[in-house]
């Protein structure tokens, strides 16, 4: 399995798709997460992503390793942004190419679920009346 793991100021779906696409792959499943323009009816002005990058890269690497062990996947790309993002901008892209589409769906969903649970990245939402760190409080 070949993999592309990248954390940077901008990411695109096309970059992930281009990496995983190959004449051998039967199907590609991608997940794209973008900045929403509102949260619980409050207008979001911008987001800020903070990342503990050396550890985040290791955790992404672990996800790729688990995918490799559990599913027959040919290629995986996992991209995540850091820094400031405006509504509509892409935050995260996961793309998985596999010979069978069920494996691609399962592996892609596993990867984004685990990314959200285990990769040290924090999102701060900026509203007209202040800012909050998402999910910090119960």
């Amino acid at each position: 399995m070949e993999q592309l793991i990248r954390i940077g100021p901008t990411v695109t779906a096309q970059e992930a798709i281009d990496f995983v696409q190959s004449p051998e792959s039967g199907g590609i499943v991608t997940f794209i997460g973008a900045v929403r323009n509102q949260t619980q009816q409050k207008k979001v002005l911008k987001l800020f992503f903070e990342c503990y990058e050396p550890m985040a890269l290791l955790e992404l690497e672990k996800i790729a390793q688990t995918v490799r062990e559990r599913w027959h996947v040919q290629r995986i790309a996992m991209l995540h942004v850091t820094g400031e993002k405006l509504p509509g901008e892409t935050v995260v892209v996961i793309a998985v190419a596999a010979p069978h589409r069920a494996a691609a769906f399962e592996a892609c969903q596993y990867a984004i679920d685990t990314l959200k649970e285990a990769v040290p990245i924090w999102k701060q939402e900026f509203f007209e009346d202040g800012a909050v760190w998402v999910a910090a409080h119960p």
Binding site: G33, F49, E50, C51, Y52, P54, M55, A56, L58, H80, V91, V92, I112, L115, K116, E117, A118, V119, P120, I121, W122, K123, Q124, W133, V134, A135, A136, H137, P138
Partner: protein, 74 residues
């Protein structure tokens, strides 16, 4: 190293700790006392040398220690 809301609670990016804290559990307890705001957080984890560490993990001088408040990536 402190991240996200923990940085705001402690008003610092890094901490130098004088107290003797032999384990991750002791470190967490010390932080909770120093920064009561931390008690309102959903969960706080500690990473030692870039890996999540259980409360009984021993700390040594030179370890890279990160305080990990609830994650919200993706």
């Amino acid at each position: 190293m402190l991240f996200g809301i923990m940085k705001d609670i402690a008003a610092a990016r890094t901490l130098t700790i004088e107290a003797e804290l032999p384990t991750v559990g002791a470190l967490k307890k010390w932080l909770m006392q120093q920064y009561p705001g931390m008690q309102q957080l959903r969960a706080v984890m500690v990473a030692v040398n870039k890996a999540y560490a259980a409360d009984d993990t021993a700390l040594s001088p030179g370890d890279e220690i990160a305080i990990i408040p609830p994650l919200s990536g993706g």
